[in-house]
Structures are given as C-alpha cells and as structure tokens.
Symmetry: C2
C-alpha cells in the first residue's frame, strides 16, 4: 500500500463506486475560508505573559508533575535532565520549554482528499465538531443515548459542512457498540464516510495502535512515517497528573510521527486555583510537559498545544461555559501557545452549559467562539453541536453553530479598502438622498458581498407567526435533515475499503465485547 503520496494517489482513482458531494446543492454556500487575515488580539502585554510563564516554571520546579504507571516516560524525562522521584517529575526553570523547541511551528495534517489537507499553525484556522458527548438530541426525537448511527450522522454532517475543516474524533460516543470495539467503528467512519482529517483513539494503547494501523491501510506506512494524517487527543488528568492510558497513547502516536494534541482540562477552583492567570499558567505547564514527552519519543513530532477549561458557579457548583473569566483564559492561552511556537487549540469553541439550543446557549457559544478566534487559536474543537456542558450533541445546535462558524470565518477575512470597495462610481451615479440598490456597484457585488447563513430567516413578524412562530432552533431541524438526505459518500478505492472492513472484522472477532 505504501507510496510516495498516498493521499494524492487515492483521489486520482476515479473509478469509484460512490458519488461525490454535489456542492451546488449544499445549503451552506459560503466559501471555505481557512486563513486569518486580520490581526490576532493581544489581550495581555509581554510582562503579564512572562509572569504567567514564570508561574508555569515555578509549578514544574516546585511541585512537579506525576506520571502514573509509565516507567518509560519517567526514564525519558530523567535522561533529559529532569529530577524524577517515584512518579513525580520536577524540572529546572526553562528545561521543559527547551525540550519543546523541536516541535514544528506549523505542519500539514493530511487528509485522504488532498483538497481537505489543512495546515496547523501560521494564519490557518481549523474548525472541528464537538467531541465526546454520550447523548444526542434533536427536536423531533428528543434527548437520548448516542449510537453508531448518530456517530455516522455527525461525520456525514461534518463532511457536508464547508465551514468545518476536520472530521473530529469521538464526535459522539457510540454507546450501542462495546467499549473495546468502538474505536474500530469510529475510525472506519472517519476514513470512509469523510475525506477530511480526523482523530484516532486514545482510550487504550492497543486502540491507538489499531487506529494507526487503519490509517496505514489508507495512507501507507511510508507516507505516515514522514507526514501526519491523524491526530490524537491526549487529556491531562489535571491537576498535574498523566495517567498511563494517556501517556501511553501519547507515546504510540508520537512514535508513529502522528499529531499529538495535549489538552490539560482544568475547572478553575477545582483542578487548579480559582483565577484565569493560574489556569493559564497551569495549562501551559501541563501542556509543555506532554509536548516535551512527544519530542523525547520522536524529535520533530507534530503537536498541538491544547487546552480545555471551565469556570463554575461557585454557589451551585454547576460548570459554566462561555463565562468572561473562561473567555479571558482562552485568549491568554492562545497568546502563550503562540509564544511557545506551536499550533494552539485554545480552550473555547461553541460551548455552553445550556440544556437547549436557546438564547443562553448562543450567548455562551458566541462569546467563547469570539474569544477563541480573535485570540489567534489555530484549531478550534467543539465548534459545532456542543450542548449541556458537552453531555449532548444537538443536531439543531450543530447547524446553528455552522452558521456562526461561517460568519466568524468571514470576519477573519477582514475587508478590502481598494478603490472598488469604496464604490465611487455609485456616488457619481446616484447622490445625496438617493438609493444605492440599483447602482452598478451594488449590482456588481450583491451576490457575493455578504455572508449568507443557511438557517432560514424568520421573516417579518406576521409571516413568522403565520408559519408557526418557529424560533431558530426549530427552523434548523429541516436543515440538518436535508444535509443528511443529500449526503453523498466520498469516493474510495474498493481494495482499500475492503482492507479496512476486513481489519475491523478481524479485530472485532479477536476479542469479546467489553462494556466498561
């Protein structure tokens, strides 16, 4: 299967058994904007950023970090100059940052369709669907456990969404599939129902290995030894602990030269002190240690400085999302990651604690998305669908979020100030008190000037009322249904497809179902 450029090779084979997405029928008509053209917002000045970096060094020097049941990781750190006592690893100030220096500033995450290959780092922006929800909901069937069918649906919806650039990972938990076999179905779905970049499994070392094996069937081992074609989500057991599952999976992906995203997960006041500055510093400390480990396993391994954080209502104990403190933390983390010199996944996305795709959901989500995108994050997880603190992927919120993804990506393009933009001819054609609607300038631009959301407008109040007074969430239902109905699977070579399904069948047959 190996070849010099597997992904190009695959898409050249046009004797496909499946069709292609008919883009002209897609409800989301906006172009795919990948690149930021406006400056990243710098909330903090250099002095504040240095104080946070110093605090990260203080944590790693004075408190240290634990690696549980992973002697290999401990040995690697000891050999690199860290002080290892039992499971605790401490670092002289500056050491971890120095170990991160071999991670690439930017790199390509290859998709099997080269048109969907993305760059992580630089000015590119990569948006992804939600991750990890055990439940789904829609306004017709209500809230329920997610199944493999839902997983397939969200992979298909993401594939059909021009404003999502990456298929994601555990877009929902397929709870009808045995825990020890889910990864096989999930990776198979990402590889066959979509041709965008994707994430492999990290829930056990052997599942990480299975994920990589499956990717090799598509991309070839040689190509993958030099290029990243998949990404892994390594969550830190914050505060300051890596368990062996996560550090083990990290080492598997790093050894295979695949992209490792290291994401501390800190709820301010619970897994770290109660302040944005402290959460940012601890996130930096924890993430740098994981990134350093990737580089000790394989220098130059592509990484993403990830983060996930939340605030809490300290009266009720409820987690809150999109809060001002969380959004400030997100902006700080993006600045810190950019200074570290690696691509950043900065905390936010379109996240909310709301139980429904309502006003609260969108206040939370829009604010979190503004802070994420304005701050200069390179990769945005949970950009669509997330509800109820991540317990639920909502079909309606997914398409509502897609519209906001498109709007924000348009905003990141800025606007031109060239002569044509000023429309001087329109002023000469019309004048004070006159209407510009029929000027040649307006006619030249009206089809492309404005971003067009896909969720239908409500219309004038009287019309809206006659049509059942449907709020935006209810207008969204028909949209995801149409997207699924219109879905056409991307082409794949028959032999590769057979190899993948055979691999999955063989691995499934090799072990009994486990449900824990």
């Amino acid at each position: 299967m190996e070849n010099l450029d597997a992904s190009t090779h695959i898409t050249k084979r046009h004797n496909t058994r499946r069709g292609r997405l008919a883009r002209h029928n897609a409800p989301f008509e906006s172009p795919i904007y990948h690149r930021r053209k406006i400056p990243a917002y710098a909330m903090l000045d250099d002095a504040a950023l240095r104080r946070i970096e110093d605090q990260a060094d203080w944590i790693l020097h004075n408190i240290g970090i634990e690696f549980h049941d992973d002697q290999t990781a401990l040995d690697l750190f000891a050999a690199a100059g860290a002080q290892v006592e039992g499971t605790r690893v401490r670092f002289e100030p500056g050491l971890v940052r120095a170990l991160c220096a071999t991670a690439p500033r930017q790199f390509r995450l290859h998709a099997r369709n080269p048109k969907n290959t993305v760059t992580l780092g630089g000015d590119d922006v990569v948006l992804m669907p939600g991750y990890g929800s055990p439940f789904v909901s829609d306004l017709e069937r209500g809230r329920r456990y997610a199944t493999l069918e839902d997983f397939h649906n969200f992979v298909k919806l993401t594939y059909a969404a021009p404003n999502l650039h990456h298929s994601g990972g555990t877009v929902v938990e397929p709870t009808d599939i045995a825990v020890n076999k889910r990864h096989l179905d999930m990776v198979l779905a990402h590889l066959t129902l979509s041709d965008k970049p994707f994430m492999g499994s990290v829930t056990a070392v052997e599942r990480a290995q299975d994920s990589i094996e499956m990717a090799r069937l598509v991309f070839g081992a040689g190509f993958m030894s030099r290029h990243a074609v998949m990404q892994a989500n390594i969550n830190v057991n914050s505060p300051l602990v890596y368990d062996h599952t996560m550090s083990g999976a990290l080492r598997v992906y790093a050894a295979a030269n695949q992209c490792v995203c290291v994401s501390p997960a800190i709820f301010a006041g619970a897994m770290g002190p109660l302040s944005p500055a402290a959460v940012a510093a601890q996130t930096l400390a924890e993430a740098m240690v994981g990134i350093a480990l990737t580089q000790l396993v394989r220098k130059g391994c592509p990484v993403v400085f990830g983060s996930f954080h939340s605030t809490m209502n300290l009266r009720s104990g409820a987690l809150t999302f999109g809060s001002p403190e969380a959004n400030m933390t997100t902006m700080a983390i993006a600045q810190l990651g950019r200074r570290l010199g690696v691509p950043v996944r900065a905390g936010g996305g379109q996240i909310t604690a709301s139980n429904a795709p309502d006003a609260q959901a969108m206040q939370d989500s829009a604010g979190a998305m503004w802070s994420t995108l304005l701050s200069g994050a390179h990769q945005v997880w949970h950009a669509a669908g997330w509800l109820e603190g991540g317990l639920v992927m909502s079909y309606e919120k997914f398409v509502l979020d897609l519209d906001h993804c498109g709007a924000m990506l348009k905003l990141l393009q800025g606007f031109g100030t060239e002569e044509e933009a000023f429309g001087r001819d329109a002023y000469l054609e019309t004048g004070p008190g006159q209407n510009f609607l029929s000027t040649a300038h307006t006619l030249r631009h009206y089809t492309t000037a404005n971003f067009a959301p896909a969720v239908p407008e409500g219309g004038a109040f009287e019309t809206w009322q006659e049509n059942g007074a449907k709020t935006a969430d209810h207008r969204a239902t028909a949209l995801w249904q149409k997207m699924l109905a219109d879905y056409q699977q991307p082409a794949m070579d028959e032999a590769i497809h057979s190899a993948l399904t055979a691999f999955v069948a063989e691995r499934k047959a090799s072990m009994p179902d486990e449900w824990y």
Copy 2:
C-alpha cells in the same frame, strides 16, 4: 434654581418623599464596571484607515452633503469656508476634520445623582438600553404597541440595572400619548423615575427646547451652560442629507452646550455602497459634518461620533444585524472615531433581526456586542432589549442582555497576574491529582472570582425537565417582573418635582393633541 453644582446639591437634600433602590435586593449583583482595562482591538492598520479617511474627504469634496430647509446651517458652513450651492455643501479635503478639532476628546455627562455621572471618551464604557421601538413584547402578554407604561417600565428596569450606565432616550415609543406631547412624558420619566444620564427629544425644534427647559428645572441654567447633563440623538438622513428637523435640533442642543450624538444610519447597498469600507467612509463623512456644525454653533460643545448601520440579505431584502460585515464595519468605525479624537458610539449593541429572544437573537447580539466593545467604542446604544430589527423591545431579552452586558464589562477588566492570582499557596497545600475546592486560596476568592449572571441556571437536565424545560427566555420572565416589583424611585426634591410636572401640564394644555 441655578447653582454651582446642581446635581450634587440635589442629592444632598435628603428630606425626600421617595425611597432609594435597595441594592442588596437587586438580582443583578455584579459591580458596576465603567472602565476598560484591556486594549482596544485594532482590526485595520494605519494605511487602511487612511484610505477610508481619504474616501470620506473624497465624498465631501466631490459629492458634498445636503442641508434641507436650514439656511442657518448653510450660512455657518459658508462662513467656515465650505462651498455652498443651493442646499449642497462641499468641503476641501481636511476642512471638516479641522472644524471638528474643537470638540472635546472626553467629557462628563452629568447625572442628577453624581454617582451616576459618566465620562464619555477615554477608557470609559457607557451602556444604554434600546432606542425607538414602537412595539414591546413579553412572554406572558405577547407583542403589542408600546405605551407610556412600558416606557416607564424600561426606565425603571434600566435604573435598576447596574450594567446600564445611562437611561437612554426613546426607550420605547409611548404610542398612547399624542406625538406632539410624548417628549414631555419621556423627559419627565427619565428625570423622575431614574437619576442616570438621559437623552432629550429631537423630533422637532420646540420639543428639543422643551427638553432643555425641563433639564434646567433640575440642573439649573448656569450649570448647564458649562456642563452637559443630557444627550441628543441626531440621525443623518443617509445618504448625505440632513433634514431641517435634525439639523435644527442639533443646533438647539449645541447652542445649549449639551451633548450631541451624530449618527448616520446606513444600510449597506441601500443608503450607501455595498461594502464595509464604503459604509465606514460614508459614516465618517456624514458624522464629521454634523460634528463640525455643532462646533460652528458653539466651539467646544460635547459630541459623540455616532453610527448606525446594517447589512441586508440581498436575496430577500431583509435587514440583518450582527452579520460579519456589519461587525467589521463597527470595528472600523470605532478606530476611525478614536483617530478623530471624539467619543465614539460604534454601530453595534445587542441587535438582531430575530422575532424572538432565541438562539438567532443571541448569536446576532453577542457578536455585535463583542465587536462593539472590543473595538474600543465609548458608548453603546441598544445594549439591552432590542429585538426584531428594533421594532420591538422585549422584556425577556432585556434581562438576558443585561447578563451579557455584565459579562462583557467583566471581560473588559482583564485579569490580574499578581502573586495572589497564581495561588502558589494552594499548590503547596494540595498537589497533583488533588482537588483545589477547599484550599484557602479558593475560599479567599470564591465569592468574588466569577461574574454571576442573574437569569437562573437551568440546572441538570433531569431537574430542568421536571421544572418544565424552560429555555432561558422563559426563565427570564420572573426576573424582570421582580425587578419592577422591587423598584424604588430615586429621591427628588419636592419643589423640583412640582416644577417639572407643572411645566409638563402647562405645555400639554397649550396645544391640541397631534397624532402624526
């Protein structure tokens, strides 16, 4: 009535017949943040801003601007060096900007309660309720024409809202009052039901004069000759026309040394060319001319560079709000106004075309608010309540928006990076894998660390469902009802109150009702 510092004087009189707002009972508990402590976001670089400024000069030089039925304004411009032909006024490049130079960079807008006096300009941020809606809605009584009772309610709600710093103007249209007498009831309500800064009437020259007369009864003519105690909303009849009502009212307020906000109102593609750059340039051109006129009437008169703009769905013709193009325009206008050196009201606020306080409403509103506040605007109109493109003030959206105002104002505070913020003692007290909830650091900060919204949380899904699955808008109803029930009128000297009501009665008796 005249005195050296009328507003201080008034509040010293504590023999009041009315109580004071019991702040400890207010549902919105957040402190009142007035001041921005994080940098304004600069979307455009100097070269782009200069091109927009050059385009404003081009418009004013080559096209010019019209003043209808206002020979006084035309004469003032001619005397200042403009070319006047009929009603058209043209300016050499740079002339209008030079005429604006005497407007103050920042100034105080005095409230009758000195604690509520605000600064316009500098780093201060002044938030205001919606303006101008002929309808109101709430989830119990539905959508209906606004009445004076609704007007009173929104003045009371704004008074009770710590995150609104200004009582606004025509917060709704009191449609049950004759058109030629509404201004009397509106100004009376702002002056007696609230003690925050407010706006006077501009719908006719004599109504502007009435508004000023009423303010003089409270603040004294001498104080007002030196200090601004009220603000006027002068809308340009974009494109490039001032009608005599607006330029007449402008001259009345400027002559009285009261604050004039000049707000062009441009729907891109209809009242100006279809591009953010063109809308920004035309807004600058139109606003500068109005500001110049205030300075020709009275040098040093306090002004605000206002703006109102919208995009359209160019397929349906519907106005859209919170679109990426509109948000970019808002950010550009804030930069242009700051360069002009006057306080800026930059376009946005919490605006939406949605018919309900739903997901769309908050996607639109949150985005418009982020662009407005991050861009460095000094004054934000329509920060609460606006729905349906401004046709409706929604009681529920008002309180939902208040929460977002509070969250955004908290965000503008940034966060500290002093030693206490990092919580080193918490790390020494606990450690890797441990919980920070009961650390001394968390206990020191948990009551103040996080912004607390006032709209009740939904709670866990099961609880939420048992409680009727109330979306955020439905949870908001009880909140505005409680705010109105708890409202206590601010104190006012009995003699002043009598003078105001007598003035209103006399003016009302002097003319027959007019309903157009």
